[in-house]
């Protein structure tokens, strides 16, 4: 057997890493509260860390929010979790992303990469322990995988409760009144008789009191903020132009820069001629960087203009030059030596298909760019042996490591100031743009340098979602889906991404088959095989990662099989479903979408279901298909979404995230792809990579289920993405009879959108 993984081998390997990292049961509650030396050393006079998440000084309390806010509301929800227990008024909340630290490791983000389905109750809890161990061992401070809420929910509430207890004991010390006679209210300890001692006034005494390890959390029935719609703490600033994103940083003596790197990704810079650029107005210095050239100037636009004057001779890319050639590589990977996983293998697929009327199909999905609206940028200053980095990032602790390797500086001399991000969708899990900023700062010391990419540089230097091809066979029997054999070939996101972080993850890459191998359907003969395509273009995590494309392929072909069986797409999925919470979601979607009600001529309704990141999500899309000659002009009228998240912390932000995920997924499914020609990305700006526009946006209705409860809480930033594209394609089939097996859908000559 080649790379095909088995659960036991993989768990054993990761389990060993967990033990080496000091995995001890029951350690969980006390460890997050240890303030290590590095966190302590960053404090200014009068500031104290009560826990790694609560800083206090004479002006009051600041909540540390180490997970990046990429637009998903992470700062607000982290603040709410602490504030709920710490007892401070909403309008008094101040947040700071804090300094990078291994203390802020993510215990949950590895979970999705393990070959244990979320539906596997017994192994699921073991997988969570392993994820915690690996996260701790690697000091993995990382925002991603819809893990912020699941990872933070207990940690941050406990941190808030522990800090509150410290403040109560500080008040006891100061007043001599017994702890059990004291209460808290809105940032103050209240003594009998009603006198309020503000937390700020207790700061100095609190700093001397040991943090308790045995605090009790509020019952969820007593929650004041959590579980109710909250005003996001960044909303007023974002609506008044007063929010500062990384690209908005302004510092004394700051200069501006841009970088042009080889658009043949990974190719060398052979030579360049900057004689014209060097004479351009405002240019201060032209600096070679890895694979390209940086222009430092006194204004960003002048840097952009000067960069256009440089003549480059680029080396070739290490991958095939065109998308067609890359798809040929993908299709050539359905061979035994490329087999990466077969973690789903029920019944006997080959035998079941041998005597049956076999339905076959091939599906494909393209590369997709992240293209957040704020292009990649970083402000970096190297001055007197101290490096400062101001940037939007999902990996602040890795940036410290990167900077140390590049500059040789000690950890104490590297300071990362995480900034608000103008979108990310996974893009800021990479450090390429920060590396360029550091190179510029090393070459032009003493000044903060704001390095900004042009949109064209951003589009052509992404680490895209990988392309993939699926080949499937299946059969129906007695009006039921009987056999489903799915093979998916794709390059490995995990190998590409973790390789750049100098980390190697053993075993199969579950992202190749995510959203397909782990679905809760009891099909009698059911097999999902992943094939790993050798690296082509370097790839990375794109909102919902492997499931983003696999759900389209898995759910559309399941729809084909259901139609072949003559069954109803909802009833057949409900019949096949083997997982309680997923069944509830399917039941809910049927009710909210009026499934079965006639929609009238030229209209259709499509259903898809995906369980990803532990969250079962069902979506129904309704479309109108207006005939236009041979073509059909599609209007997306309505989308219904039902999701099971365990517990909803902010119903309004959840709804906003689901709406955004649906628009994101549908927009890309409609019209977006990143293609390559001559080794370079063809699409350079939004006129060639449109996504959805306002006039195309449907009505979206969202229902969040909480049947599994707080202990099973999950994040919702990504899980609503995967089922949207297949629900749309299935709706188009229902309305028109056209079965689109490729994304984007406009690659079908009969499909256009309004």
């Amino acid at each position: 057997m080649s790379r095909a993984g088995t659960i036991t081998r993989r768990l054993a390997l990761l389990g060993a890493a967990g033990v080496a990292g000091g995995l001890v049961f029951g350690f969980y509650y006390t460890e997050p509260f240890r303030v290590n030396r590095r966190l302590g050393s960053g404090l200014q006079k009068g500031q104290h860390m009560l826990t790694p998440y609560v800083r206090i000084d004479r002006d009051g309390v600041t909540i540390i929010t180490p997970r990046a806010d990429l637009g998903q509301g992470a700062y607000s929800i982290q603040a709410a979790l602490v504030a709920e227990e710490l007892d401070i008024a909403w309008n008094d909340i101040k947040v700071d992303p804090g300094a990078p630290s291994s203390v802020y490791y993510n215990a949950r983000v590895i979970r999705e990469g393990l070959p244990v389905a979320a539906t596997n109750g017994r192994l699921d809890s073991i997988a969570e322990i392993i994820s915690d161990g690996v996260g701790r061992f690697l000091g993995l401070q990382l925002t991603g995988g819809s893990s912020t809420v699941a990872d933070s929910c207990n940690k941050l509430r406990l941190a808030g409760a522990a800090a509150r207890e410290v403040l109560l004991r500080a008040a006891e010390t100061q007043t001599g009144i017994a702890r059990d006679k004291l209460v808290t209210r809105d940032g103050a300890v209240i003594v009998p008789g009603g006198r309020a001692l503000s937390y700020a006034s207790l700061a100095e005494i609190a700093a001397t009191i040991a943090v308790p390890t045995d605090v009790k959390l509020r019952d969820e029935r007593d929650w004041r903020y959590l579980g109710k719609p909250m005003q996001r703490i960044d909303m007023v600033a974002k609506c008044t132009g007063t929010a500062t994103f990384g690209i908005d940083i302004r510092l004394p003596g700051m200069v501006y820069a841009t970088v042009c790197a080889n658009p043949n990704l990974g190719g060398a810079l052979r030579s360049y001629d900057d004689s014209l650029a060097a004479k351009a107005r405002g240019v201060l210095k032209i600096v070679p960087v890895k694979g390209g050239v940086g222009v430092i100037a006194d204004n960003t636009w002048r840097a952009f203009q000067a960069a256009k004057l440089i003549k480059f001779e680029w080396g070739k890319a290490p991958y095939p030059a065109s998308s067609a050639a890359m798809f040929r590589k993908v299709k050539a990977s359905f061979v035994p030596k490329r087999r990466d996983s077969r973690c789903k293998n029920e019944g006997d697929v080959d035998a079941a298909l041998a005597g049956a009327k076999v339905i076959k199909a091939e599906y494909r999905v393209p590369y997709l760019a992240h293209a957040p609206l704020e292009p990649m940028n970083a402000v970096v200053q190297l001055k007197d042996g101290r490096l400062d980095i101001w940037t939007g990032t999902q990996i602040p602790a890795f940036l410290v490591k990167t900077a140390r390797e590049m500059t040789g500086l000690a950890a104490d001399d590297v300071h990362v100031h995480a900034q608000l991000c103008g979108g990310s969708f996974g893009r800021r899990l990479e450090d390429d743009y920060v590396r360029q900023g550091i190179e510029l700062a090393m070459a032009y010391q003493g000044h903060p340098i704001k390095m900004t990419w042009t949109r064209e540089e951003d589009m052509t230097h992404d680490f895209p979602r990988p392309l993939a091809v699926a080949r499937m066979r299946g059969a129906a029997k007695d009006r039921q889906v009987d056999a489903y054999d799915l093979a998916i070939a794709s390059p490995s996101v995990v190998a590409s991404q973790f390789g750049r972080l100098s980390l190697s993850i053993p075993g199969p890459d579950m992202a190749i088959v995510a959203g397909a191998w782990d679905q809760p359907f009891r099909i009698p003969h059911y097999r999902v095989t992943g094939y790993r395509v050798p690296e082509l273009v370097p790839v990375s995590s794109w909102r919902s990662v492997g499931a983003s494309g696999n759900a389209f392929m898995h759910e559309c072909f399941l729809d084909e099989l259901i139609h072949a069986a003559g069954a109803d797409p909802l009833q057949e999925r409900r019949r096949l479903c083997s997982h309680g919470p997923s069944s509830e979601v399917l039941k809910a979607i049927g009710e909210m979408s009026d499934w079965g009600r006639d929609l009238g001529p030229n209209r259709g309704r499509g259903l898809a279901f995906t369980l990803s990141f532990g969250v079962p999500v069902a979506e129904v899309v309704e479309v109108t298909a207006t005939p236009d000659g041979e073509r059909r002009i599609i209007t997306i009228d309505r989308v219904c979404v039902a999701a099971e998240v365990g517990k909803v912390l902010d119903p309004d932000n959840l709804k906003n995230q689901v709406e955004g995920a649906v628009i994101w997924a549908l927009g890309h499914a409609m019209n977006a792809e990143l293609t390559f020609a001559d080794g370079k990305a063809v699409q350079t700006n939004y006129h060639q990579y449109e996504g959805m526009r306002l006039h195309q946006a449907p009505r979206i209705e969202v229902k969040a289920l909480e049947t599994t409860g707080l202990a099973h809480i999950r994040g919702i930033g990504e899980p609503a993405v995967p089922p949207a594209a297949p629900a749309l394609a299935n709706a188009i089939f229902a309305a028109t009879g056209i079965r689109a097996r490729r994304l984007p859908l406009i690659s079908h000559d009969k499909i256009r959108f309004v």
Partner: protein, 165 residues
């Protein structure tokens, strides 16, 4: 040297005539409300008013801005202490996710309401939808807040028309 009036304040700038207004604002004046998203007038994140008319500042040369013209950015529209009706509606509907496009969205929406709603006879919901589709579809939001943008504009329109939504 030229003088540019931004949010009511004069600023002396020394720039070539073909520098886009956006970069004069962001890097010379220090007005970072308008954002750089595409540089080719495809996303609308850089929308500001020149003499009360919305423009894509990434694609308008400073040399084409009349001497003495009044430039208004998102910070001149309203402030956290004195919100414009559109900003208040945005907050009421919790529109923003990453928020990077929202200065441009809000400027476009406020211009739409100024042109089509304020002081005009009340519009039907369908007519207002048409105006919203027309005025707002050139503003890109990668986070997908379009439904909330539509709802917030309707909410602000109802207030401007003296109706309760």
């Amino acid at each position: 040297m030229r003088v540019i009036w931004v949010d009511g304040e004069p600023h002396k700038v020394d720039v070539e005539g073909d520098m886009p207004l956006l970069w004069v604002l962001r890097d010379e004046v220090g007005a970072t409300g308008p954002k750089y998203g595409c540089g080719i007038a495809m996303c609308g994140a850089c929308t500001v008013y020149v003499d009360d008319r919305p423009v894509r500042s990434c694609s308008l040369r400073i040399g084409d801005v009349a001497e003495g013209a009044k430039v208004t950015t998102i910070r001149g529209l309203g402030t956290p202490q004195a919100l414009h009706a559109v900003q208040a509606a945005w907050i009421e509907h919790q529109v923003a996710q990453c928020g990077y496009c929202q200065p441009g969205q809000i400027m476009a929406a406020a211009a739409l309401l100024h042109d089509k709603v304020a002081g005009k006879p009340p519009l039907s919901d369908a007519d207002l939808d048409d105006h919203i589709n027309h005025a707002m579809s050139a503003n890109l939001c990668r986070c997908g807040t379009y439904m909330r943008i539509r709802a917030a504009i309707k909410s602000a329109a109802a207030k401007l028309q003296g109706q309760r939504p």
